[in-house]
């Protein structure tokens, strides 16, 4: 069945993308976009990390200073309590008492005081107190604390049986009678320390403990939860909650405390929070420290919010930029596709132009070289094309070129690339399993080309058979480079033409006496064309 040659205006070649991929590399816009996003996110991550480091450094410095101030304040509040006790003792020293019992009665008579209980220990270490309080002395060895009061001392916190709460007892020595040395004691709730030491700003964030350096036991005085006041724990148990990377830092801090160094600061993270911690000695309680701890976020809430705003702003900006880039990309892609197509294709037939063919062919041959596969380069020349142009006009010639290219495309585009080298010359470079397969494709092309019907509408070209001559070269047997292959194929084409056209020869067959191979459909194509020419001239 005769086929009508295609229109001059070519539809978009569906093989364009494939053709382009022969020439250009595989990196697409999307991959570039992803790369840009990765860089963007990495930059954001770095920015946030730098910001966090800055906040952390700022917090560490500031919280260290706040801790110092708080521990000084706590120490001052303890000193205030001990000074009160010492002041009372001084007043007692100035008075003359007949017996220690009188001293105790005076002390008990003071009902306006802030302390929970008060009492007196005479020179013989006899305790003047209620029976319950005397039991506490025995239970908690408070006399030992009294003995070191020069002029004041403070007991470790203990749970009072009388009050059911953690308390501290303060001792102050004083002179009475005939230069006899006695001790006055006052007992306060541990919570009272909290009331003295608490600060309004950061009040719910700061934690303050008293810590026994020897055992690393701590008792909470101030904390976010007021009910936690008076709760004991051990710093080694607290250490179990410290993040692994900071355990050594924390342990080092503990060692320094246990070595009784003064004013020691550290900072560490737990699974939930970053903390700064600072401690200083309590002068009235040897071996004990005030420890202050502040969570990092207590100071940087504003900065953290600012960081969030930056992040949200960047996220919105990113979305806007992606949308804009997407739109720009769609527009430019449309233009680029057109330009790309024009720059690599022959506008009439849609086949590669010579430059694009050379680039794509180099790639194909390179691939063939690496994979060890053979290729065939075939030059085609439409027989007597000039006469078609001359007799039927250039439009008919153009239609023939298009139809011819379609025939090539139909048979070779699955395994190779097709180019128009100019005029009626076409070239195909195709992967080749074997010569027989190429021969089969050439036979089919011959049949398809013979079926081309020129100017069917005017019936002027009806009955004329189109043929082509072709020369093929084998890669890598004939030549291992493109330039060599072209020469070989060109030589084979020349030989085919010399031997009467309408057929093809392999380069390896040049010089043999065999005629060009052809699939004979109808003979004397040439005669019909000549006949028509004569008629037209008449």
């Amino acid at each position: 069945m005769k086929r009508k040659a295609g229109n001059v205006i070519r539809p978009k070649n569906t093989n364009d993308e494939k053709d382009i991929s022969f020439i250009k590399g595989g990196r697409s816009f999307y991959m570039t976009l992803i790369l840009c996003l990765i860089i963007f996110f990495a930059a954001i991550a770095l920015l946030i990390a730098a910001f966090n480091r800055l906040i952390s450094r700022h917090d560490q410095k500031l919280s260290g200073e706040i801790c110092t101030l708080m521990s000084e304040k706590m120490n001052s509040s303890i000193e205030f309590m001990t000074e009160t006790t010492h002041g009372m003792a001084s007043v007692l020293s100035a008075q003359a008492f007949n017996s220690p019992k009188d001293i105790y009665n005076v002390l008990k008579g003071n009902t306006k005081a802030d302390y929970l209980s008060v009492g007196f220990i005479d020179a013989a270490m006899h305790i003047y107190a209620t029976p319950e309080e005397m039991e506490e002395f025995e239970k908690w060895e408070l006399l030992e604390t009294a003995k070191v009061a020069h002029p004041v001392s403070m007991s470790a916190p203990y749970r009072s049986s009388v009050f059911g709460q953690p308390v501290i007892t303060l001792f102050s020595d004083f002179q009475y009678g005939n230069n006899q040395r006695g001790y006055m004691f006052t007992t306060y709730l541990l919570k009272d320390l909290q009331e003295v030491a608490v600060t309004e700003s950061l009040g719910d964030k700061i934690e303050i403990w008293l810590m026994d350096a020897n055992s690393a036991n701590t008792i909470q005085c101030v904390g976010a939860d007021e009910h936690a006041t008076g709760s004991w724990t051990n710093a080694y148990l607290t250490m179990q909650n410290v993040s692994r990377k900071d355990v050594n830092v924390y342990e080092d801090w503990l060692k320094r405390v246990r070595n009784l160094e003064d004013n020691i600061g550290t900072s560490y993270s737990t699974s939930e929070t970053f903390y700064s911690q600072y401690c200083s000695k309590i002068s009235s309680l040897p071996g004990w420290y005030v420890v202050v701890r502040i969570p990092g976020d207590a100071l940087s809430a504003t900065m953290t919010a600012f960081r969030t705003y930056i992040f949200l702003f960047l996220a919105v900006l990113l979305v806007v930029v992606i949308v804009l880039i997407g739109n720009m990309y769609r527009l430019s892609k449309r233009d680029n596709e057109m330009l790309k197509s024009l720059s690599i294709h022959d506008p009439l037939t849609g086949a590669f132009n010579r430059r694009a063919f050379d680039l794509a062919a180099e790639k194909l041959l390179f691939r063939g070289k690496n994979s060890g596969r053979s290729c065939a380069l075939i030059f085609f020349d439409i027989d007597y094309f000039k006469q078609v142009n001359d007799q039927f006009g250039h439009d008919a010639g153009d239609q023939l070129l298009i139809a011819f290219c379609d025939a090539l495309r139909k048979n070779f585009s699955d395994t190779g690339i097709i180019a128009r080298f100019g005029g009626d010359e076409f070239v195909v470079l195709t992967e080749m399993e074997n010569i027989r397969a190429i021969a089969s494709k050439l036979d089919q092309t011959t049949e398809d080309v013979h079926a081309i019907d020129l100017n069917d509408d005017k019936h002027e070209g009806r009955g004329f058979m189109i043929s082509f001559s072709a020369g093929a070269a084998n890669f890598p047997d004939d030549s291992a480079d493109l330039s060599g292959l072209k020469k070989c194929a060109d030589a084979a084409l020349y030989e085919t033409k010399e031997k009467g056209r309408n057929g093809y020869l392999w380069y390896s067959e040049i010089g043999s006496s065999a005629p060009p191979k052809k699939k004979v459909v109808k003979k004397i194509i040439r005669k019909k064309i000549i006949k028509k020419t004569v008629k037209t001239q008449d």
Binding site: M31, S160, G164, H227, Q240
Partner: protein, 348 residues
């Protein structure tokens, strides 16, 4: 295909960024509430008697059964109705909050509570006290002054007594006071006031009285109320610290785990000191080759005396003390037949 891949990658990147962004991080607590045992009558309920509600820590525990027995016996003698309920693990303070609310809704005349958390339940105890209802605490104090009396072991002192027993046992088993030696500790919770005080007491006594070269390994195990986890922790600990000469369990769970592992590995060279008289501890103490001791609380007294105080308070009497230390007795192979120990064991 490429476009699809690109979109997927883009979504993943965005998700990754949001997840990693510190500004966007948040905590989610998906813990489901633990089962609790709602109130049941402990003795025969009779009309016209005062209703006392007892909230204990662990229902399925021999230790708490003894407390309940003490309360029931007192209820019979003092003629009051006693209801009791509790949680399944001793860290479930939220379960106890539910029980406190149920007791208030049931018009309880008074409550006896063993707080699962001294700090978290302080506000609830304040609330009961503010309603004018007597509140007696047992076993564990709360960090509030709004209770009438607390019967419990002074855990700081109990911890000290445990450390003293550990030192005694180590010396008794022939450890040289001039040689390097270390002991390990397992706690049942890092938040329990009871446990923290026992730990603090142990450290205090140890640092003041132990030979200079005898140390506590700073790597404190925490089984978080789970005995099975305690077994695993103890096994790993002994692998990591083969030099360990003694193990101290601050409460029932860790003690059970330590005893179990010591028995499992036949470590007769290890001194074990713990709390309560669990089956695992009982087995070790009854085998003379194992140097094991336990601090036995007088929990029967806690339950019994608490009901007595509740009735005194309901009758308008004010107790002279707010905190009564019921004390601990040290039980080991040598003291097993002491009359004091026998009496406590019989009640247990």
């Amino acid at each position: 295909m490429k476009r699809k891949t690109a979109y997927i990658l883009l979504i993943c990147l965005t998700f990754l960024c949001i997840t990693l962004c510190p500004a966007c991080s948040g905590k989610k607590d998906n813990n489901a509430p633990l089962p609790i045992s709602h109130f049941e009558p402990l003795n025969e309920i009779k009309a016209g008697r005062k209703n006392v509600y007892l909230i204990i820590k662990v229902m399925d525990s021999s230790y708490w059964k003894v407390i309940v027995n003490g309360a029931r016996d007192a209820g019979e003698v003092l003629d009051c109705n006693i209801y009791y309920g509790g949680t399944t693990i001793e860290t479930d303070w939220e379960g106890q909050q539910v029980l406190i609310n149920e007791a208030l809704e049931s018009k309880a005349d008074a409550m006896i509570i063993a707080p699962d958390d001294s700090i978290e339940l302080a506000a609830d105890i304040n609330r009961i006290h503010d309603l004018g209802k007597p509140v007696v605490l047992i076993d564990t104090a709360a960090n509030t002054n709004s209770f009438d009396i607390c019967y419990m072991t002074d855990n700081l002192l109990a911890g000290q007594q445990a450390a003293a027993e550990m030192l005694n046992q180590l010396k008794r088993t022939g450890h040289d006071t001039e040689a390097v030696l270390s002991v390990g500790i397992m706690v049942g919770s890092a938040k329990s006031q009871t446990i923290n005080e026992r730990l603090a007491g142990f450290y205090k006594y140890w640092t003041e009285n132990a030979p200079e070269k005898w140390t506590i390994i700073s790597d404190i195990m925490n089984c978080n109320g789970k005995v099975d986890l305690g077994f695993d922790l103890a096994r790993d600990f002994l692998k990591q610290h083969p030099e360990t000469a003694g193990l101290y369990g601050t409460n029932n769970g860790p003690t059970r785990a330590i005893c179990g592992v010591v028995k499992e590995q036949s470590r007769t060279d290890l001194v074990v000191v713990g709390f309560d008289y669990s089956d695992e501890m009982k087995e070790l103490i009854e085998l003379p080759e194992y140097p094991a001791s336990t601090m036995l609380q007088r929990q029967y007294d806690m339950g019994n005396l608490a009901v007595g105080s509740v009735m005194d308070l309901l009758n308008g009497d004010t107790p002279p003390l707010k905190f009564v230390d019921t004390g601990v007795v040290t039980v080991n192979t040598d003291t097993l037949s002491d009359p004091e120990v026998t009496e406590v064991l019989e009640r247990n």
